[in-house]
């Protein structure tokens, strides 16, 4: 988000406090002092992680402190993870496998790269999931593992876990 602050001492700190109070995780702050506006305010770009339902409360808290929120850009599905699936992927209803993730509301299948070497041979696919938070990603991988167990599909997880 891009914030507009008065150019007086302590303003930036005052703007950051509501973010931590509400449980947001600040990832970067870009603060350019030389770009003041005509009203003697300056703008700050802040990248943060925050549960979506808390966003309105944060904007309200910032306004009470006199910080204007100029712009909010949202990227919902920040987490990404690729896994490999081996098995009879088409014959075990691939659409259903993908739907079981997409239906969650917190995770989606964003990419699927499938190789089918021969008829009746197991096929192999790289499946890329996106999810809202690391916890949601763990949950999505758990769902995929359950679906795979039902369909006799082998899932290869990355060693490092969630990126």
């Amino acid at each position: 988000m891009k914030l507009e602050l008065k150019d007086t001492p302590g303003q930036l700190l005052g703007a950051l406090k509501p973010i931590s109070d509400i449980g947001g995780n600040i990832i970067t702050i870009i603060h350019q002092r030389d770009q003041t506006t005509a009203e003697n305010t300056l703008t700050v770009d802040i990248v943060l992680e925050l549960a979506e339902k808390k966003l309105d409360a944060l904007i309200e808290a910032l306004r009470e402190r006199g910080c204007g929120v100029v712009r909010i850009g949202k990227q919902r599905l920040l987490q990404k993870q690729s896994l490999i699936m081996i098995g009879h992927l088409m014959h075990t209803d691939l659409t259903d496998t993908v739907d079981r993730i997409d239906q969650t509301g917190f995770a989606e299948v964003s990419e699927l790269h499938m190789v089918m070497p021969a008829i009746d041979e197991p096929s192999t696919a790289k499946i890329t999931l996106r999810a809202v938070s690391p916890e949601d990603m763990l949950h999505a991988v758990r769902i995929l593992r359950e679906v795979a167990a039902q369909k006799d599909i082998l899932i290869l997880e990355p060693l490092e876990g969630v990126e």
Binding site: S82, L83, I84, I86, G87, H113, V115, P117, P122, S123, T124, A125, K126, L154, L156, E157, P158, L159, E160
Partner: protein
């Protein structure tokens, strides 16, 4: 000190050769069908030659029971093949030796995986040492590395390549584009895989090693049935290609997360620059420690001399700690 060797296959014979000129005297050996005992020290070159010729190391009328009742040893070295289900007959042999107040050193995973806590309590009660460095990752000093080398650290995770057969097969599938059956056949031809490779390729061998590490070094109390096990026998060449396209490959990884009480063996997609990606039959273990940070051990996981190295390490520890009068 006097050493009795139970189990006289490649490991037992390798150890007998390695013990020459070390100051340890071998007073008894037993294989599955025979035994030889001499309280003054056996003639090892003769016994190795007899084993070579006849398949027997000694007289068929006696066995490990006779060695135990002779009491003609300070340290019992148990190197017979692993029985993962019950640990027997090695478990009973080890229990008897400890009860007699004898030190025990073993490469046999069965008794340690099945009954470590019981055996350790018995050894402590008798004031003797139970050494099992050779049970996990062959020559790699993972037991002493974690117990002494990294003492004082809390370990948050352990990941390892613990089965050389699987690592060889996956290495060859990646390097040469072989299918699983082709790579398995090659491993058999080279003597890296058994005629029945189930125990290795299904991940059971790696899982037993995880049970040992979890129970003896990471404060857990689990059984083989608590480990989630997936083997490598369904891995396709296409899976390796898909991993390769991302700068990764596939390896059979044993994982212990003590905080989550989670222990599993499964093929995983792993970045090619990860320290655990070792080639061929090598073993590797990485631990994450609160003070030391990440530490990785790499070395030969099997073979008579790497195993003898781990056994000798335990024997020397015992001599340094207990043989003050000699």
């Amino acid at each position: 000190m006097k050493v009795a060797i139970i189990g006289f296959g490649v490991v037992g014979q390798g150890l007998a050769r390695a013990l020459a000129d070390t100051g340890f005297t071998i007073t008894a050996v037993a294989d599955s069908r025979s035994a030889a005992i001499d309280a003054d020290g056996l003639n090892i070159p003769d016994i190795l030659a007899r084993k070579e010729e006849t398949g027997l190391c000694g007289d068929t009328g006696i066995g490990s029971a006779a060695i135990l009742s002779s009491g003609a040893f300070d340290i019992l070295v148990e190197v017979s093949p692993t029985n993962a289900d019950t640990g027997e007959p090695a478990l009973s042999t080890i229990r008897s030796a400890l009860a007699m107040g004898k030190h025990v050193v073993t490469s046999n995973k069965g008794p340690i995986a099945c009954a470590y806590h019981e055996l350790k309590a018995l050894a402590d009660q008798k004031g003797v040492k139970l050494g099992y460095e050779a049970t996990v990752a062959g020559a790699v000093p993972i037991v002493s590395g974690l117990r002494q080398g990294l003492a004082g650290n809390t370990i948050s995770s352990l990941h390892g390549i613990l089965n050389g057969t699987c690592n060889y097969i996956l290495t060859r599938m990646r390097d040469e584009g072989l299918t699983y059956p082709q790579a398995l056949q090659e491993a058999r031809d080279l003597g890296y895989a058994e005629a029945d490779p189930t125990y290795d390729v299904k991940g059971i061998d790696a899982a037993i090693k995880l049970v040992i590490l979890a129970n003896t070094l990471l404060g857990m109390d689990i059984r083989l049935s608590d480990v989630a096990i997936t083997g490598i026998d369904s891995i396709t060449p296409e899976a390796l290609s898909l991993a390769e396209a991302e700068g990764a490959t596939i390896r059979l990884i044993g994982e212990i997360l003590p905080g989550k009480n989670q222990v599993r063996v499964s093929p995983r997609v792993i970045s090619l620059d990860h320290p655990l990606v070792v080639d061929g039959t090598l073993n590797a273990i990485s631990v994450c420690c609160d003070l030391a940070g990440p530490v990785t051990f790499i070395g030969k996981g099997a073979g008579p001399y790497p195993t003898a190295s781990a056994i000798l390490s335990d024997l020397n520890f015992i001599r340094d700690a207990y043989d003050r009068g000699a």
